[in-house]
Every structure is written in structure tokens, then in C-alpha cells.
């Protein structure tokens, strides 16, 4: 007997179910967008306000007209800052310090992460946890003893460390290396070991395995760590505030805060311009490489 399709006329037809489900979903979506817009506004108000203020002349600012709108936009703040040697000096110092620190960080972190994630050796597990834990000893605890240590070092050897921008090259890595290593350990560990083994069997030395197989595959993680190291270096405030005091040694964050705020006379147009320019490099990198940025952060979230 041939089998026939039986239509159950008593069962509720599907269109009703779909209708109610999709209506629920539509409302859920509308609420989601509504709240997301609220939060987005909350997130973007300060930087947008920075932009708005930076385009105002000091006359317009003190006139106290609507602060949310620019009536007579001017680029004079930008012109003044970008032609100010002092400001350019801050930018230059920040750039040099950040770039060198990123290089140092990568040179230390990449081999360490590689060894800790893929080479089982005595103590590697404790070391990996230890790396993570040192990140929890904050700079606000270390800055005083470091200050004294550098002062003493200067006395002993005559090499002046306090109030020199290159001292930052020594302390910044303590902030970048542990987290970069941790990001990369998570990332490296997710690359299957069989890849290394296949390369070894194909005849590669460990160095060739590292450079021709591993690093190309691990590149996204490395890029993410690089971005993170740069952003952290650029944004540092406490260490440079404590260790550098002369105007020509300052980096951006400290420079803008201390030199543009002269007593009680706040040249807010310039301050906001300076702040925006100071925030620009990380923002630009973020705009172009957002996915790497986020990948670096979340490398730990899903796998731990």
C-alpha cells in the first residue's frame, strides 16, 4: 500500500504562531535599538563635545552661548597648537616612546607567549598564571618605590633617569608586557599543535617553523597585542607625571593637562583641541583596525 501524506486538519495552522513570534521579535528589536541609541549617545557625548569645543574661538566659549553648537567655527585652535613647538614636542615624545615601547614589548612578549603556550616545560603553568597576576600589582603601588630606585640609580651611576623621557621606556613595558603576553598565550594556544608537527615533519627547523608557519598564522593575535601595547603606552598618565617634570620631556597626556591649564585661566578651546589631538592616534588605529582590537580583548573571554 503506498504511503500517503496525512493532513491533520485539527492542528492549529502555522501562520498564527509565526505572526505572534515575529511581532514579539519586532518589539524586542525596537527596544534594543532604542536603548542602544541611548547608550551610544552616552558613549559619544564627550568626544563629540571635544570636537565641538575645539572648533570654537575663546570669545565664543566665554560668551556662553549654546555649548552644543558651534556658531562661528574656527580652526584657529588647531592652527595654534599644531604650530606650537611645545605641543609638537609632546606629540613627538609620545610617538617615540610609544613606538619604542611597542617594539620592546613585542620582542619580550612574543617569544615568552610562544614558549608558555606551546612548549611544556617545568613551571610553565605557574609562570603563565604568574604573568597574569603581576598585572594586578598596580602602577599606583609601584610608582613610589620605582621613583626612589631610579633616583638612587642616578646617584650611583650618574645616569640621570628622573625627568628624562627615556625612563618611560623602562617602566611602560611593565604595563604592556603582561597583558600582551596573556593575549597572545590565549591566541597561540588556539593554533593546533599539529601545524607545528606537520612543519617539523616537512623538515623545518624550529626557527623556520616559527617564522614561516607560526607567525603568519598567529598574525591577528600579534597585531591585536601590538595595538593594545600602543594604546596603553600612548594613554599613560601616572608614570610620566611622576617621572618627567620639565616641559620638554613630557608626553602628550601630561603635557596637555599640565601646560594648557595655566592657573585658573582655562583656554578650553585649546585644551579640547589638544585633548582631541591627543586622543586621535588611538582613535584612528581603532577606526581602521577595530576587529583586531576587539579580538585581542576577547581572546581570553571565550577560551580563557
Amino acid at each position: 500500500m503506498a504511503s500517503t501524506v496525512v493532513i491533520d486538519k485539527a492542528a492549529p495552522t502555522r501562520s498564527v504562531k509565526y505572526g505572534s513570534m515575529s511581532r514579539d521579535r519586532a518589539w524586542a528589536l525596537r527596544w534594543s535599538y532604542f536603548f542602544l541609541t541611548l547608550f551610544a549617545i552616552f558613549s559619544l557625548v564627550p568626544p563629540i563635545y571635544m570636537l565641538i569645543t575645539s572648533l570654537k574661538s575663546s570669545a565664543e566659549i566665554s560668551a556662553a552661548t549654546n555649548p552644543w553648537w558651534v556658531f562661528h567655527p574656527t580652526l584657529s585652535n588647531y592652527a595654534e597648537l599644531l604650530s606650537s613647538n611645545q605641543f609638537l614636542r609632546f606629540f613627538w615624545n609620545s610617538a617615540i616612546v610609544s613606538i619604542i615601547v611597542v617594539t620592546i614589548t613585542m620582542l619580550i612578549s612574543v617569544p615568552a607567549a610562544f614558549a608558555l603556550s606551546r612548549m611544556r616545560f617545568w613551571g610553565s603553568a605557574t609562570l603563565a598564571t604568574g604573568v597574569f597576576l603581576t598585572y594586578l600589582i598596580p602602577d599606583t603601588l609601584l610608582f613610589l618605590p620605582l621613583f626612589k630606585m631610579f633616583a638612587t640609580f642616578g646617584d650611583w651611576t650618574g645616569i640621570q633617569l628622573i625627568n628624562r623621557w627615556y625612563v618611560l621606556l623602562i617602566v611602560y613595558p611593565t604595563l604592556t608586557v603582561p597583558f600582551c603576553t596573556w593575549i597572545m598565550i590565549g591566541y597561540f594556544a588556539s593554533i593546533p599543535k599539529e601545524l607545528d608537527e606537520a612543519a617539523i615533519i616537512d623538515g623545518a627547523s624550529w626557527f623556520q617553523t616559527l617564522t614561516r608557519i607560526f607567525i603568519p598564522v598567529a598574525l591577528p593575535g600579534i597585531i591585536a597585542a601590538t595595538i593594545f601595547a600602543f594604546t596603553v603606552s600612548w594613554a599613560q598618565f601616572l608614570y610620566p607625571l611622576v617621572f618627567t617634570t620639565s616641559v620638554d620631556q613630557l608626553v602628550m597626556p601630561v603635557g596637555i593637562v599640565t601646560s594648557l591649564i595655566k592657573g585658573d585661566v582655562f583656554a578650553w578651546g585649546q585644551i579640547m583641541t589638544g585633548a582631541l589631538l591627543g586622543a586621535a592616534p588611538p582613535l584612528i588605529i581603532y577606526a581602521f583596525l577595530m576587529d583586531y582590537y576587539i579580538a585581542g580583548l576577547t581572546a581570553g573571554a571565550t577560551k580563557g
Binding site: P192, E194, D202, V217
Partner: protein, 366 residues
Amino acid sequence: MADVTLRKVVKRYDDVEAVRGIDLDIADHEFVVLVGPSGCGKSTTLRMIAGLEDITDGDIMIGGDVVNDVPPKDRDIAMVFQNYALYPHMTVAENMSFGLRLKHFPKAEIKSRVDEAARMLDIAELVDRKPKQLSGGQRQRVAMGRAIVRHPKVFLFDEPLSNLDAKLRVQMRIEIKKVHQKVRTTTVYVTHDQVEAMTLADRVVVMNHGRIEQIGTPNDLYHKPATRFVAGFIGSPAMNFVPCRLEDVSGKLHIRLTDRISFPLPPARAARYQSVGRDEKLLLGLRPEHITEASAHPEPGVEEFETVLDVIEPMGMETLVYFTLEGAQICGKVNPNVNAQAGKPLRLAVDLNNMHLLNEATGAVI
């Protein structure tokens, strides 16, 4: 091409012995399959041959040279991994030629070898694609191509078909066999699937708990298993084991299964088992194909009995029938036309010419 020899090879992790002293001689051009359940030590053995694991004790020789301390890249071997291990940032051609490029082979030679392997494996149109654009079967072929172009002394396969779906697995099995017929390189192949072992191997090595249970051709292992483990592992559906005893009834040797069922042994078998103790606990080993429906003209050595069936599984080509005997679940194969129904009795015949008798305590086949 080379032969591979393992002498008393042991692998110890802290205090766990994964491989407990195995001896194995693999002849040149031979296709040997290491088969066994998870954790039996077959992959560890393969990796020791490859040099990816250190040898705790014993020797491994490839082509007559002891390679214990030789790093993998100098052993002249090639390996195909379970999850292919293709370099994701390289094209298929680059993946296949990586080993040759490392050794600075001339470009023309590299190209000809890659083309030849690609043609053999039917992946010639894929050479410029990246692994993530390929299907599972295609990736596996690329992995094999990478091994072939190196013209190594030994091919090592580590469960290469486990990640493929059933249909693809059958296809790839045939591909692997074709490649071996063409290239004739000594091959050591690890799998947990006894069907792969039986279909691919010149000789099969059955491993269990770090030891070799039996080495032999597929036919040998199927028809002359040496231990209970091998008897139960090889063949699907598995061999049936029924507790039994030998007894003498009116001068002839009988085998008693239950209070009701006792069969006389055929003469050849009776002669072989004459010296076995009548009180010893034994196991009767019978493959399902030797438990069939009773026929009108029973042959010598075939005994009949009736039992109630528990479950039937119509397979089309045959019908599997399951019933219980002394608490053990038994499987038999009957003709699909036989009226077998669950819960109803059926008259079955056992072919005792093909029986195996095992010592229950030691697991050895008598």
C-alpha cells in the same frame, strides 16, 4: 622505501605506561594498520615512529638505521594528520611544496612533483585555493599530496578518516588504497575502525592497553583470532560469546550452553578440544553469520535449536536477529525472507564447524 622495525618499544608518561614493550617488523612496501580502542597506544606508537614523541625504552629502526635520537625532519617520513594540519595561510600548491622548498629543491622539480601528486589525487584544479575554501575530503587529499611529493621512506597516517562522514570515508579508503598500489611506499596507518583496518591492510596489528594482541593478515585475524579481545574486536556485528562447558555424553564430546541446549561437537573440533578440562569455564565464540535459520537439509556439524527472539533488525540484504542465552545477548543473521518476529520463537541453526572455544579466565582461544 624502507622497512620499519620496533624492538621492545616502551613509552612511559610519569608513571603511566602507554606502550608496554612492542615488537613489530614492517617489511618494505607493506601497508600495516595499527588498530585498537581509544587509549590502546596506537597513536603513541605512530608518533614515536615519527619522532614526535621520545622513546622511553627500546629501539625504532627505519631502513636498518636506529632513529631513536634522530629528529623527525631527518627521518625522511611523511605524516597525514587526523585534522589535516594544512597551513591556513598557504595555497594548496604551497602547502604541498613546503617541505621541498625548505630543502631547496629546484623549482622545476617541485612543480613536476606537485603536479604529479595533484593529478593522482584529483585535486589539480584546486592548487591555487586556500584550505578554508576546501571541503573535508579535499583537504584530506591535499594532506596526502603533501606527504606524497616528499617521496619519503615511510607514510604515517594518524586516523585520517575520522573527521569525514561515512560516505566520504568509504570513498577516501579507496583513494588511499589506490595511492598505495601506485606509489608502494611503506605505510603505517592508525585507526580505531576495524573496517578500515580490514579493508586497507596487508597486515593488521591489533593493540590493547599498550600491548600487541595479535598481528596477522585480515583473513587470519578474522578466522583465526588468538584472543578474546581480537575475536570480539574484529568483525561487525561482533562475535557472540556464550558461557559453556564441555561434557562427555555417550562417548562423544558435547558442548553445553544451557540446561536445555547441548550440542555434539563435529569430529575435527572434538579432536582438538579433547584435552580441555571438563570443569573449566569456557566461552563459545560464534560469529553472527554462523547462526542462521534452520534449513531443511542440515549439514554435518550444524546443530539446531529454538529460541524466542528479542529484537529483529531488517538490513535488506539479511535480517539480524537478537535473542538471549544464559543472560548473554546473541546476534544471528537470517535470510530476509524468513518470518522472524520479535517476541516469537524461531528455529535457528549454529554452524559449529566455525566455532571458537575460549578459556574464560585467560581469554585465549584454544
